[in-house]
């Protein structure tokens, strides 16, 4: 498990020892580790912003030149470097063959520009079970990633809803 487990826990956060043990695969854990994972730091590069804007077919001039902004979904490029993907699934045993990305939310607090140095850390925000429309249980996992800039300001949050289906994922 990650080094984050040796860090002090904030009040109200589950202790690492209560995180779900190995071998479990179905049903919501009785408790799960809500603590933030190890942060990663990335410099926002102009070339990456241009590459991303081209890939999403967005020619908005705001994403080019001096004072360029990063497009709204650009944070995905950093998320893929975080342990466990988009934030803090490190303490949950999930079956990726049955896992769907159900929802994605971004909250923007400060502009993000090339030259910014963003530190991202992720956590599991919530885990719960629901009955599926076609029978069977669905396990919902909400992960949250916080992006802080070089001035120590929170620039954005990203929240992903992952759904583990009981059977194989259907098209």
């Amino acid at each position: 498990m990650s080094a984050s487990e040796t860090r002090p826990q904030k009040p109200g956060e589950a202790s690492p020892s209560s995180a779900r043990g190995p071998g479990a695969s179905d049903g919501p854990p009785e408790s799960f580790d809500k603590s933030w994972g190890e942060p990663i730091t990335m410099r926002v590069e102009y070339g990456k912003v241009r590459e991303f804007a081209r890939a999403i077919k967005d020619a908005n001039p705001a994403y080019a030149g001096d004072g360029a902004l990063a497009p709204p979904t650009f944070l995905m490029t950093i998320a893929h470097w975080i342990e466990g993907g988009m934030g803090g699934m490190r303490n949950l045993k999930l079956d990726y063959r049955r896992l769907l990305h159900g929802e994605q939310e971004f909250e923007y607090l400060r502009p993000i520009r090339p030259g910014d140095v963003l530190t991202a850390r992720g956590r599991t925000k919530d885990v719960f079970e629901k009955d599926g429309k076609r029978g069977g249980k669905m396990l919902f996992v909400i992960t949250e990633t916080e992006f802080t800039n070089q001035r120590g300001e929170v620039a954005a949050y990203s929240r992903s809803t992952l759904i583990q289906t009981e059977g194989a994922v259907q098209a």
């Binding site: 081209r54 705001a62 470097w81 994605q104 971004f106 923007y108 098209a171």
Partner: protein, 143 residues
Amino acid sequence: MSVRRYFQDVTEGEELPPVVVENLSRTDLVRYAGASGDFNPIHHDEEFAHVAGQPSVFGHGMLTAAFVGRCVTDFVGPDSLRRLKVRFATRVWPGDTIVSMGKVTRKYEADGERRIDGEVQAVNQKGEVAVSGSFTAALPSRG
């Protein structure tokens, strides 16, 4: 392209101009995989997709989400966006044409900002919803 839009110029129920992406190609998917770092083979490896029971590779949900994001930022300007939320529904396949559209649902003031909320969705050429969602933006005030 984005034009500076003022709070006073926007009305509840106003529709966002649609953004059309025609005939999405496998190259588009590979380009997005490289740009985003999402190398799940289901989006670029035809053989892998077949073994997984899929008729072909299919698009990254976040690529369609980006088209929806563009529909919003073309309207409000990228620096005005405060929140964007999307829900993934039908998959997007090579050859699909995706139309992103939306409308303003609410105008209000909060946290000292003049804000609008809206709904967005991306539909394919059959009219099936690929992505639906919502947004919040803070607009400048005239005077």
